[in-house]
């Protein structure tokens, strides 16, 4: 029983990794569909640049910097896990979690400012897309923080594979933001 569970789904590739990539594939379809719909609406509608001008470019840029940096720290955590350095692993996982929380904090400030200025999800198609895409992404960041916190708590177990798989998800969240930032804030 246990040997069949632990056997690789495909020779040379651990089953867990295949599973995470399949999950990420479904996530690509989810965000890909949203982004494709946004692009089509954006190209077919005038005045969206004016709406986007109400967003805080500074906060968007800071959050991009934070997520890019946290992607680097989570992969450093994986490298530390492979070397068996539990304290370094915890340090980098802690920095990654901190990055996620900073991102969510700035996002909360941004949402508060925008809603107080009267820009709600009901304020138009741009704002509907904005809150849907960034809200869904923020939920993914929150899930990533929880997953990394679980890795942090179990750092002494020294299982690099788990850290790698958790990192794959975090990098995906980073890549989604890499496209959301220019789509919403820069174009």
């Amino acid at each position: 029983m246990s040997s069949s569970v632990q056997a690789p789904a495909i020779p040379g590739i651990p089953a867990g990794k295949v599973g995470v990539w399949w999950f990420l594939a479904s996530e690509i379809m989810l965000f890909g569909g949203l982004i494709a719909s946004f692009i089509v609406f954006r190209l077919g509608s005038a005045g969206w640049s004016g709406e986007a001008a109400h967003l805080s470019l500074t906060i968007g840029a800071i959050n991009t910097l934070v997520l890019l940096t946290s992607s680097m720290t989570v992969v450093q955590a994986f490298a530390a896990a492979e070397r068996g350095h539990a304290s370094t692993l915890q340090l980098f996982l802690g920095l990654t979690i901190l990055g996620g929380l900073v991102f969510l904090g700035f996002k909360a400030v941004e949402y508060t400012t925008e809603i107080r200025a009267g820009f709600t999800p009901a304020s138009g198609i741009f704002w509907s897309f904005y809150y849907t895409m960034t809200g869904l992404h923020a939920l993914h960041v929150l899930a990533g923080v929880v997953v990394n916190a679980i890795m942090f708590a179990g750092a002494r177990i020294r299982n690099p594979r788990r850290v790698e798989l958790a990192g794959l998800y975090w990098h995906f969240v980073d890549i989604v933001w890499i496209f959301l930032f220019p789509l919403l804030y820069l174009s």
């Binding site: 479904s26 509608s45 992969v75 790698e164 890549i175 890499i178």
Partner: protein, 92 residues
């Protein structure tokens, strides 16, 4: 499999990511030449995504099957965008 491979220089890749982010931001601040600016912005975004996927996610060390799992949904999303284009082209 990624675990057994040498780790790329993650800090150098991070520096590249920040540089590309800076280029994208600078392009967005250039007045006029909107088409060029948008092209630069999305070219740098794509480059950043590739850097993260290939190096941080270790995709360049993975077998073809993992590439296929990752790329097929990207292609589907692109097909979705392209097939929706007539909607706004013919609506004008």
């Amino acid at each position: 499999m990624a675990t057994d491979k040498a780790h790329p220089n993650y800090v150098a890749i991070w520096v590249w990511l920040l540089a590309l982010m800076g280029i994208g931001l600078a392009a967005s601040a250039i007045p006029g030449a909107r088409v060029i600016a948008v092209t630069v912005i999305f070219a740098t975004a794509t480059a950043k995504a590739l850097l993260v996927a290939l190096n941080f996610m270790h995709l360049r060390f993975e077998p073809r099957l993992i590439y296929a799992i990752a790329l097929v949904p990207v292609l589907f999303a692109l097909v979705l965008a392209v097939t929706l284009v007539p909607d706004f082209v013919f609506r004008r």
